[in-house]
Symmetry: C2
Subunit: 345 residues, 2 copies
């Protein structure tokens, strides 16, 4: 027996040396691991599981070739919290406060004055134009290299006003699971956001495990120029190139990817065209919309289904009706999500 | 011995069952296969081999993380023939001839008249504006879905005026080898072309093994709208969104990829900023410019190094001098390329 043991030992050694112990082990006995543990059993979870199963099974008529496996996710309200206001707007407000010493004129000039003086009433009355003025003043006039670290720094420090946690913790655990599940099955996951492309790129790898080239967002018309040392730099000038919202989402998916996604996830009127464009492709597709109907654990707003109206992330009844008519799945946060945030008990 | 043999046999069986025989075999004995057989030994070939070796060796100070391995290639004059005129311009001219029956007004309206009547003298005098007018008339007014097949059809039929071969055969074999060699070493290869993004996307998978999302080109401002059946469609409207040439190449690489390439290949003044932007990134980089100095096997034009001047793919002396000053490698077609086309004897 000793010889046999020695022989086994040396064979084991050879296995280790040729790296055989790193070989994937054979298919484990069928203790199926749930890829979506934060989802309650129900039509939404089943739609995702069915979609992945049928589109990755070569024998299925709905099989999707690996190169066509593309899934797009809206960000605000779909992968993380967008209430009471988009994170990027809070970022811009914080930037105004930080930049104020270099801009004494802001003390008397609206809309900056409202932020500098902490006039909450005036802030609440900001128009879209006010926010655009603030966004341009705080997001431009620097190189692309300088902008990323500013965002990263804010993401580490700033906290959500209600939940008192940094934004990277305000991501929805069920959506992280869907992203990973899709990637594990050969899908490339993209963020397709009305928010700033460079803003999201600064943290998307860390938060979503998605690289910069798979972030499609609203984008400035960046200008290539030269610094004093004669080195080429990219300047963030105050001019918008892409408004990646509504029809812009379908247009920009085509611009960046050149084909229809196979799965698309959204939550508001601005995602309608992305879902339509997804469904317009050949073969199988999955379209999902998050309905925020859980005021206790997150927020409740629509106005679809009698939920309170909201200026941020509007989900109109017409979109709800289109979803029902076209076979899109509406995700009820309240009923479909067992857990919303990773840090929940 | 028999027992030992039996033991070995059953162990071998186990190895087969657990899939160990599929494990990559240990490093093969050093019969090195040349990844660049169409290149003559010389500084250009050595620069490519050195770059790949040092940037993929974890022990090297020039190691590049897999996620940052991005290589960008200009197309016309860099990966395939651009003389006597860009393939896309010939495509547009052929489209005019094909569309003429639906446009009786073209018989008398310049610049279309010149093409319809075959007036070579007038065609030779076309301005950039004439070509733009022709491009817009032949490339727009259809859905994105309709455009691709038109290009594919032309690529299969049209032949190069001198070499009498379809354009997919006018690609440079040495560049195909570089692309494959880079991909085999974890680099993602992008085409970054002044040509139309959708034009190149129509054949890039077939010709370069590059998927649509890795084609960055000049792009129309595509519009999402609805057809009579109420289905969402993308219309090619006659408005340019991205002019992907010169500074536009650096800007659009940033827009699409969000980071500096590690390697960039070009051949003309329009590639300068792409190479500058590549070199401006941290760490190792490779910048190469193809000099067309082989009138016998292909074409000879500059005007750098005393070569004849050319309106198409100008390589000015200033670019040549910048290359020498900055350590970019100039590829001499005549000296560095053993074989230019795959079909050459």
């Amino acid at each position: 027996m000793k010889t046999r043991f020695a022989l086994l030992s040396s064979l084991f050694l050879i296995l280790v040396l040729v790296g055989c112990t790193n070989t994937p082990t054979p298919a484990a006995p069928t203790v199926a691991v749930d890829p979506l543990p934060s989802w309650n059993d129900g039509p939404a979870k089943r739609a995702i599981l069915d979609f992945v199963k049928t589109t990755t099974d070569k024998a299925s008529p709905k099989f999707v070739a690996p190169e066509d496996r593309i899934a797009t996710f809206d960000q605000d309200g779909t992968t993380w919290v967008e209430q009471p206001i988009y994170s990027q707007v809070l970022f811009a407000f914080d930037r105004v406060a930080e930049m104020a010493p270099q801009h004494p004129e802001w003390k008397t000039k609206m809309p900056f004055k409202a932020i500098v003086t902490g006039d909450k009433e005036a802030i609440a009355k900001f128009t879209l134009m006010d926010i655009e003025v603030i966004a341009m003043a705080t997001h431009t006039g620097m190189t692309t290299e300088a902008f990323g670290p500013i965002v990263k720094d804010w993401m580490a420090k700033a906290k959500h006003p209600r939940f008192d946690r940094p934004y990277p913790q305000m991501v929805y655990q069920p959506m992280l699971e869907v992203m990973k599940y899709l990637r594990d099955n050969g899908y490339r996951t993209y963020i397709v956001t009305g928010g700033g492309q460079d803003f999201v790129r600064a943290y998307a790898q860390q938060v979503y495990d998605i690289p910069p080239e798979q972030i499609i967002g609203s984008a400035l018309d960046i200008q290539y120029t030269y610094n004093k040392e004669g080195q080429g730099i990219l300047m963030r000038d105050p001019k918008l190139l892409l408004n990646n919202d509504g029809a812009g989402k379908a247009e920009d998916i085509y611009l960046f990817i050149g084909k229809h996604p196979k799965a698309a996830f959204g939550n508001s009127a601005g995602d309608r065209q992305m879902l339509e464009y997804t469904q317009a492709g050949d073969g199988a597709s999955l379209e999902m919309l998050v309905l925020h109907d859980d005021a206790t654990r997150e927020y409740a707003y629509g106005p679809a289904q009698g939920l309170p109206d909201s200026k941020v992330g509007t989900f109109p009844q017409a979109l709800y009706d289109e979803a029902k008519r076209k076979g899109w799945t509406v995700i009820s946060m309240k009923n479909d999500w067992k857990q919303i945030f990773a840090w929940e008990k």
